[in-house]
């Protein structure tokens, strides 16, 4: 395969969903997943982010990763709308299980229940999990 892949149809737009199920900082999955989101947005794809299970912790306010000398990347979620990434879905049951409420999140999101989250996933063309 050559270095440049032929994009047969210019302007192909696919629905890319990034599924976030892991807490931040304890592992690199949250940070490196976010790095892909920004690139997908730059390719003008239809990007949505799903936060469920421990992934909801990524959006928690008042994080200060500097306390453990790590990158404090949570504010980057606030910058997503500048990249036209506005579909952030957070699972209601995951929040409740973890004693987290919507107003404790760092960015406006759409809270959906588990069934709706499953339906959203089923609509995607490409699902990226880390």
């Amino acid at each position: 395969m050559s270095e440049a892949m032929d994009l047969e149809q210019e302007g192909d737009i696919k629905r890319f969903m990034f599924v976030n199920r892991k807490a931040p900082h304890g592992s690199i999955y949250a940070l490196e997943a976010l790095e892909v989101v920004l690139i997908a947005a730059a390719f003008d794809q239809d990007v949505s982010l799903a936060f469920l299970d421990d992934g909801v912790f990524q959006l928690r306010q008042d994080q200060n990763a500097k306390a453990i000398d790590m990158k404090n990347f949570a504010p980057t979620f606030r910058a997503l709308e500048d990249y036209d990434v506005e579909k952030l879905y957070v699972e209601r049951e995951s929040l409740a299980e973890r004693g987290l409420t919507e107003d404790e999140l760092i960015v406006p999101v759409e809270v959906v229940d588990r069934a709706r989250m499953g339906a959203l996933m089923a609509e995607q063309d490409v699902v990226l999990s880390f």
Binding site: R21, D53, R114, G118, M121, A122, V126, V127, S129
Partner: protein
């Protein structure tokens, strides 16, 4: 969508998380995920409904590697090899890995 779970249900909650979002879609157990398919385990019951619909598969080479005979599998679980895995993704994709 073809969903895959690659960890044992006693190691992580990934199988539960997947099943909670599976809807009418298909699940392939791979790697350590195949342990959930053993009939006598307490995880097999979770697979009963989708397995009855013919929507649960287990990767044969991973079963064999782990000493699980296909006769020990819960009812309705279909064993596929890597070619079958490819076909499942081809026919029922996109793919969602529950990692």
């Amino acid at each position: 969508m073809l969903h895959t779970v690659n960890k044992s249900p006693w190691q992580t909650p990934n199988l539960d998380a997947c099943l909670a979002h599976l809807g009418n879609e298909r699940l392939l157990l791979i790697e350590d995920g195949v342990y959930a398919a053993v009939a006598r385990s307490d995880a097999a019951g979770k697979l009963e409904a989708p397995a009855r619909d013919g929507r649960v598969y287990a990767l044969g080479p991973d079963l064999e590697a782990r000493g699980i005979d296909t006769a020990q599998l819960a009812e309705g679980i279909e064993v596929v090899d890597y070619s079958g895995f490819v076909q499942l993704v081809a026919e029922h994709g996109p793919h969602q890995a529950w990692l």
